[in-house]
Symmetry: D4
Subunit: 164 residues, 8 copies
Amino acid sequence: MPKVALIMGSQSDLPTLQPAIKRLRSFEVEVEVRIMSAHRTPDLAANFSKSARENGFDLLIAAAGKAAHLPGVLAAFTTLPVIGVPVKSSFLDGMDSLLSIVQMPPGIPVATVGIDAADNAAILAVQMLALKYPELEPKLKAFKAEMEAKVLETDQNLQKGANC
Amino acid sequence: MPKVALIMGSQSDLPTLQPAIKRLRSFEVEVEVRIMSAHRTPDLAANFSKSARENGFDLLIAAAGKAAHLPGVLAAFTTLPVIGVPVKSSFLDGMDSLLSIVQMPPGIPVATVGIDAADNAAILAVQMLALKYPELEPKLKAFKAEMEAKVLETDQNLQKGANC
Amino acid sequence: MPKVALIMGSQSDLPTLQPAIKRLRSFEVEVEVRIMSAHRTPDLAANFSKSARENGFDLLIAAAGKAAHLPGVLAAFTTLPVIGVPVKSSFLDGMDSLLSIVQMPPGIPVATVGIDAADNAAILAVQMLALKYPELEPKLKAFKAEMEAKVLETDQNLQKGANC
Amino acid sequence: MPKVALIMGSQSDLPTLQPAIKRLRSFEVEVEVRIMSAHRTPDLAANFSKSARENGFDLLIAAAGKAAHLPGVLAAFTTLPVIGVPVKSSFLDGMDSLLSIVQMPPGIPVATVGIDAADNAAILAVQMLALKYPELEPKLKAFKAEMEAKVLETDQNLQKGANC
Amino acid sequence: MPKVALIMGSQSDLPTLQPAIKRLRSFEVEVEVRIMSAHRTPDLAANFSKSARENGFDLLIAAAGKAAHLPGVLAAFTTLPVIGVPVKSSFLDGMDSLLSIVQMPPGIPVATVGIDAADNAAILAVQMLALKYPELEPKLKAFKAEMEAKVLETDQNLQKGANC
Amino acid sequence: MPKVALIMGSQSDLPTLQPAIKRLRSFEVEVEVRIMSAHRTPDLAANFSKSARENGFDLLIAAAGKAAHLPGVLAAFTTLPVIGVPVKSSFLDGMDSLLSIVQMPPGIPVATVGIDAADNAAILAVQMLALKYPELEPKLKAFKAEMEAKVLETDQNLQKGANC
Amino acid sequence: MPKVALIMGSQSDLPTLQPAIKRLRSFEVEVEVRIMSAHRTPDLAANFSKSARENGFDLLIAAAGKAAHLPGVLAAFTTLPVIGVPVKSSFLDGMDSLLSIVQMPPGIPVATVGIDAADNAAILAVQMLALKYPELEPKLKAFKAEMEAKVLETDQNLQKGANC
Amino acid sequence: MPKVALIMGSQSDLPTLQPAIKRLRSFEVEVEVRIMSAHRTPDLAANFSKSARENGFDLLIAAAGKAAHLPGVLAAFTTLPVIGVPVKSSFLDGMDSLLSIVQMPPGIPVATVGIDAADNAAILAVQMLALKYPELEPKLKAFKAEMEAKVLETDQNLQKGANC
């Protein structure tokens, strides 16, 4: 069974990440939700990342705000893919988080999604996992078809004058 | 054998992408380099993406500048992971490219790397591919060890007064 | 009768677009309001745009937020003018939407208006339509005169001490 | 014959605008190239715009840098469509020009294209003109097809190993 | 008696400008408050500015938001000093207004104050007027002393433990 | 005779300020050019500003880059108008200088001009001085007329095909 | 006993600074809280800074918003370390404050912390003070251990399903 | 003897840091120059920081570009003060580096100086060290006096017409 760690820098990020937890579980991906800080628990973060592969994780998702070092720090200690979610902090609309996560130096990439886009991080994780777990692929197709159907339905309702 | 498509919006992006081509080949990943425009050849882009999985591609890397729609447009037509490389255009230092790629709407993520960070896109691709092709994992470890060794060496040379 | 399509990426954009619908109808322009997503319903968007001219549309107005690809994607498939409305998303005050719409690559322009400026998009549409439908021109003149009169009236009221 | 005014705030903008002049002429659109300043020749700008319609102009293209008021000032005096080209000035990469042009107040839109995107302004102008001059439409189609063919050709050359 | 015009682009700017009106009157400066739009009443704005000197105005203060052309447009038609107040609009925190006002082209300066800083515009106006009306100078000195005294008082109260 | 102090934070700003010196002298304004630093010679700056009025200065122009405190610091010690010129530093295109100068707190305005816009600072200074020295007013009118004539001439030359 | 001055530009900054006062006192650092304005009480600020060392202060913490000159102005008059806290003002999310504080010219540094990060300013102050007062060092270690323990506890609670 | 570590993320940062090395040595501060990467040699960085105090370092200076995690990562493992120098990278003028360094989370401050301001980092370091090593204080005073004298000299030379 595919297994993912979803790591946040602070418990205050949990509401932002709930959609990712729900999405991953809807794809029957096991998700371990953790709170670790690159700066307040640096040893925990380092050790978790170093042993993530042998502990059966397929990839890591990390969310952080402001000087959002967590995804990059985790990426330093593993060869697993790391997905980074920039969290909107109280200032600068998350631009600081975005740049701190996406502008990684040569050799240590972080797969960055949009600001607060935890749901997209989960979907990207499933797309990666589908490389290894082919049973996820038809689920992704179905998910995509469902999204399309929903937009088509709102469009048709609008056409019928239901919403206008 | 792992197979990746590396797609650029314009031939002028080729020099920026050369490190990615080289890096992927160094990991013995087959790479098909293509030029497609989300706006000038939209049908080609749509068709390529739609059939990418059945044509044996494991994932797509797309690079574009300015209103950099290419990675997102490709992601719309496939469930394969899409890695986006924001290319620095002549204005705004690539901030327009970055935001156009990373701020994708719910449901259609693009795994975004730093501005002009084509090499990191390739490494991220290999990390994803290692989920499916376990033989890549020791190569990634070796690559990481080599990077570390190089930094340690420059540090030691500096210590020896060789560079200061 | 002049005919315009007003397309939004998500139903949540409808309140932002209502002033445009109202304005277009006040000029007796037929307006078809649609919901289409460049990423969730890419085929619908492509097909709609490809057949827009033969379906009697004179131009398209498209509104989108974040990585706002919709106007550019529609512009890729038609030679009709496309007006883009950057919608303010929850982050970055719409700067991401603006750059994703206005910074189009060579060959495929989008006529961009201000952030959330749906009303201005409608007025711009009428100005374009007046090239083909000369009966719109006196209406535009009257609209301009009315705007001027309103400002003059508030100025005179202010002078009379009514508002100060 | 379709007729367009291409107005710049300063002669130093001429090199940036040359592609627009060439493009408009390639579509057999008559183009009158003028230098007018919203601030140094405000009366000329006002009078030109006021009489533009009766002087046979179908639309105006205006380019300006820094506090780029020219397109908006012209739009104040006419009901013709005004296309604005933000010119990159020596600071801020043209962001000041872009915001000064695109963020017009309610009632007076300017159809804004990308920074220094004079060629796109010309193509947008032809798209608008095609509403009135249907003979332009097949030319636009041909232009679009030619662009597509060029990208396809560079893609095929790249495939053949010619450029890689 | 010193006389100043305080001009806003829209009545919605009036609350932002009230501190300026109050400040100017506290210095016994006559102030004419007007609503004029650079885009909706361009002729009124031009004529007002052209005749401002002969109508006894010593200088103009103009406030506007978004693509804030009003101060620059007024400055085009007069040799009187023009003070510009960038008004925070609903997007971009007034950065668009600031750049549209301060980045004027060579030859036509606008004396720009901070975003929404109407009170500072009034004080700057009094400083300029004091060049011509020396009786304002001691009032400015007194105002400055009063400001200093107020800060000293809050500091002393804080020291006394009154506020901590 | 009108007298102005032109103060820069560092000798490296002198080339940026030469146009202001030349412009002021062309209006027969006496200009004292000084180098003072708000941070390296704070006492000199404070004393200069405190005694500026009694030393016969009508106003101050101050130019500085980066955390450009000089204009604000001078304004703290005088009731004379202070014009601030944000100097483009090696980073951030002068945005840091602009914000450090224009965003002054309530009570202490600085009349800010555009980035590196020393010439405009000089013209603004002359406009202020004309309040006290009416003989400057016809010179300003002539200057404005000359600017207009130059633009008209370049426009006419362009019309004649001389430059196109 | 270690002694620090905590200086704010305006009483409205006090709530932002309360965490710093509390933190410093928890480390048994004497803190003198003052209100001084670089612009409204420039002499007070200069004199306070000039005599800070002889008055027994070990370092200064200064907080200010907008064109936040206070930390830099204090740094001009002392060789004590000055820590600057950029306060978020009503516009631009504190970016103006940050740049006005951090971008100091050569020779006069300000140790800048994050926007509104008064608590971090206090911790940084204690770290500096520990150079002179070694008894602070074990307290800092304990503080760091306590932070780590808290994150570990929230992580463990989350693991136990208490929060998820 | 005071002892400082000056750590850079990459050897390419060495030229930017040379002024800091020179400045520290001019104050007779022992400086150990090291190359360590938060991402490529994370264990080295962690171990160095953990043992910095016992190895006799008084404080750390760390410089990094892009997603500049190095200063924050070092600060995570020590209670010594850490000074961060944002290095201008090839994009975004160092804004990414600045935000990644200054916007640290609660509890782990980094004393941030301006972009590429290595010399200021050294001076700040000496100011901190002077808390512990009082013999540095007269040197700082002399340095400050020398800076002042230099500005006064350039000012006087300018007055003499030597440079104008």
